[in-house]
């Protein structure tokens, strides 16, 4: 026993001595090197010419306080409507009459050679559009008959038919769309935006996520609205449009608001002592978050409560209070936009029209999804416009990749229901709102809808454009992490899609 303790103490002493010796030995040399480095080093050159880096520091007690954009923004907030599973562009926006002519033919080898598909094997057949298309609105934009309500707003939309991605599975593709990288660990769009701009309403989260039609998480999970390496205060808060808006926000039944206040005061006091002891600004942020949660108890419930809307409005959206639905979420989104929430993200699942089960078939599942989303989306656009909000809101609608012009034959077998496999080469996404040209299409796919023929738009180009509309040079909205000034657009150069800017 004595021996062991003695040895243990010796060990400790040895380790400590080593540390001291190391420090004294090379540390001084190292310190000298550090000094020289900082004294002699030029300030790092910044992208965007000689501009100094943007300063995003805030009082840690108000991490979501508003910061002005770099230059005059065209939009102040974003509503992102993500159609999870990926809607078939060939059935909705990308009209391919040539493909229709080749319906049922074997897929040419050139489409298959050297390519990997999620589920297609062997030689599938080509699948023409399942629904009739026509030109709509004054702009004459092509649209199928599946979206009759959205059609009314077609002249507001900028339809990008040449989006491209390099991911053909849901999770990495969704991560790429929402965080700029196909692997987890990166900050999401909403986190970047709230980090850069803060939020106008300090009583609500700056970044709210609403999910419909399928559980509470996406294929890629919560990282889709996570803050990654950004401080966690910028993560998205997943809210519900039925029941408690935010889980675990409300006090337990036996605890009143006053009692909650007393608990918070006590917690505050302890946290302040911790802060006095360690001086970690994250502690101040934590105090601020508790306070915000307390304020949110009142305001969030109010914001999410669609029962307060007139019946005409409810009818326009097709919203039914008490249920969880995309329509309810759209109405909540408009309410949140009015209340100064910076980034509102809606997820609606079930667009993955492989044709395997019946509810994923193009002629059943897709029809259902369109019915669920068409009216509310159109109502949201009209409502934002009527309230003057559309001119400084950016609305985005899209999936994470496209769908193949081939009829999916899972395992090489012909399938009972009609479906398309995942297709990263090209997909359609539309934008509406401030700073965007109205009633145009950008980009084209080839006659078979297989590859992009003109004006490809990478995901990072879309992100760069969104950040530009929000008033940022995408290169200057960055955060140092792991030795790199991390950006939403990643390390490859991105292009702002100038052709769609008003």
């Amino acid at each position: 026993m004595e021996n062991e303790r003695g040895i243990h103490q010796l060990d400790l002493a040895r380790i400590q001595a080593q540390t001291r010796r190391h420090f004294l030995g090379w540390g001084t040399g190292g310190l000298g090197a550090f000094f020289l480095n900082s004294a002699l080093a030029k300030p790092p050159s910044h992208p965007g010419g000689e501009n100094a880096p943007l300063d995003f520091t805030r009082d840690p007690a108000t991490p979501l306080s508003v910061l002005p954009p770099e230059f005059a923004a065209k939009v102040k907030r974003v509503i992102y409507l993500h159609m999870g599973g990926s809607p078939s562009q060939l059935e909705l926006f990308d009209y391919k009459p040539t493909l229709a002519r080749f319906h049922g033919h074997d897929c040419p080898e050139s489409f298959l050679k050297g390519k990997r598909f999620a589920f297609i094997q062997g030689v599938p057949k080509l699948l023409g559009p399942m629904f009739p298309f026509h030109r709509a609105g004054k702009s004459g934009t092509w649209i199928s008959d599946r979206l009759p309500h959205l059609e009314q707003a077609i002249d507001e939309l900028c339809v990008i038919k040449s989006m491209k991605t390099d991911q053909f599975n849901h999770a990495p593709a969704q991560l790429l769309v929402h965080t700029g990288d196909s692997r987890t660990g990166h900050a999401s769009l909403g986190s970047w935006v709230t980090y850069g701009l803060g939020s106008e309403n300090q009583n609500l989260p700056g970044f709210i996520v609403l999910i419909s039609n399928g559980g509470t998480t996406a294929n890629a999970g919560k990282p889709l609205w996570g803050s990654g390496f950004l401080p966690s205060v910028y993560q998205g808060v997943s809210c519900r449009s039925a029941g408690e808006p935010v889980l675990y926000l409300d006090n337990p039944k036996s605890v009143s608001r006053d009692e909650r206040r007393k608990v918070l005061d006590a917690v505050d006091e302890i946290n302040r002592q911790t802060y006095d002891q360690f001086g970690n600004p994250e502690t101040v942020t934590r105090i601020a978050q508790y306070e915000m949660a307390f304020r949110m108890q009142l305001e969030a419930s109010d914001a999410m409560d669609i029962r307060r809307e007139p019946k005409t409005v409810l009818k326009r959206y097709g919203a039914e209070p008490g249920k969880t639905s995309y329509a309810n979420n759209c109405l909540v989104a408009r309410r949140l936009a009015e209340r100064g929430v910076r980034f509102i993200q809606l997820y609606h699942w079930g667009w993955d029209s492989h044709g395997t089960p019946v509810d994923k078939g193009l002629n059943v599942g897709l029809v259902g999804r369109c019915k669920e989303t068409d009216q509310p989306t159109a109502a949201l656009l009209a409502d934002l416009k009527a309230r003057g909000l559309l001119e400084d809101t950016l609305v985005v609608w899209g999936g994470e990749f496209g769908r193949t012009p081939m009829w999916e034959n899972r395992g090489g077998q012909e399938m009972e229901f009609i479906g398309r496999d995942h297709h990263p080469n090209c997909f359609t996404l539309w934008l509406a709102g401030g700073g965007i040209k109205k009633g145009i299409s950008h980009g084209e796919t080839d006659d078979m809808g297989y590859d992009i023929a003109r004006n490809p738009v990478e995901i990072r180009d879309l992100h760069a454009t969104m950040l530009y509309l929000l008033g940022f040079d995408y290169r200057r909205l960055n955060y140092p992490y792991q030795g790199l000034d991390q950006k939403l657009t990643g390390v490859k150069p991105a292009r702002i899609v100038s052709e769609i800017l008003a």
Partner: protein, 315 residues
Amino acid sequence: MSSSGISGRLSAGAYFCSVALLTLAGFALAMFVRPAFGHSMLQWMGLESVPQAEARSFYATRVSSLFETHCTSCHGEKRQKAGLRLDSYAALLRGSKHGAVIRPGDARNSELFIRINLPASDSRAMPPSGKTPLTPDDVTIIRLWIAQGASGVRRTIPGAPQPVPEVKIPEDAPALTEKLRAPLAAQVRRIQMEHPGILSYQSRNSAWLEVNASLQGAAFGDAQLQALAPLRARIVQVDISGTSVTDASAPFLAGMPALEVLRLGGSRITSAALAALERSNSLRSLTIGDIETSEDTLAPLRKKHIVIHGGADVR
């Protein structure tokens, strides 16, 4: 020392004359075998006119930038692969060591067009794989330009695709911004401290101000709005939706010389006050929410090209 008489030997003079002649002959041969070199020599000696392109010509505005972006890293000042330079109109017409790359009037037989029109899989395709490819529009521009004579003068080529607009990201101008903000900076700071969240600059590089009182509700009224009077000349946007601002503030709002966007749905402003807004020369967007009003009131505003949101749509 010159012993021109001794057999087998030349005089020094004769020798160096021959050397000089041989050197010139060598140059002449090089100029003949490599026409691009030949032309550049002749032009350098002033024996040939150097073709110039006008600054506003189609070539200068649409074509040369394509070469600069996609070609001159290998065919320009630093490198001249195949002896070809594409960094000037004259060089372009001189061609490569194999001859002319442009046949004015005949794109299909111009080596340059042939190369840029090859499929990417062809090893001779230009730009080579790994370099940013030309878009189909770019190739069309070059084709049309060559076909119409590869002119350095012509300004427009019919059928050419429209140029892609460039996005200019404004540069920081901290000193200028500081200067523009200076006169009212103290007042802005004071108001921001007394009423946080209402007043903000339009951007980090702007001295324009935006007012958003929509989250204040009834607590924000005429008094609070008119307290912004010292700043009225710099306000570009006002959102008083849902506040208790009344018609009394209408002249104040109409009198803001730079106000562009005004939202007053849900406030206590009525139709009567809307007419006052006709006075504004800067207003371009007005949101009236569910304020009861008539087309008669709104018509004059629409005539001034003010976009009006709300009305029947909101009810």
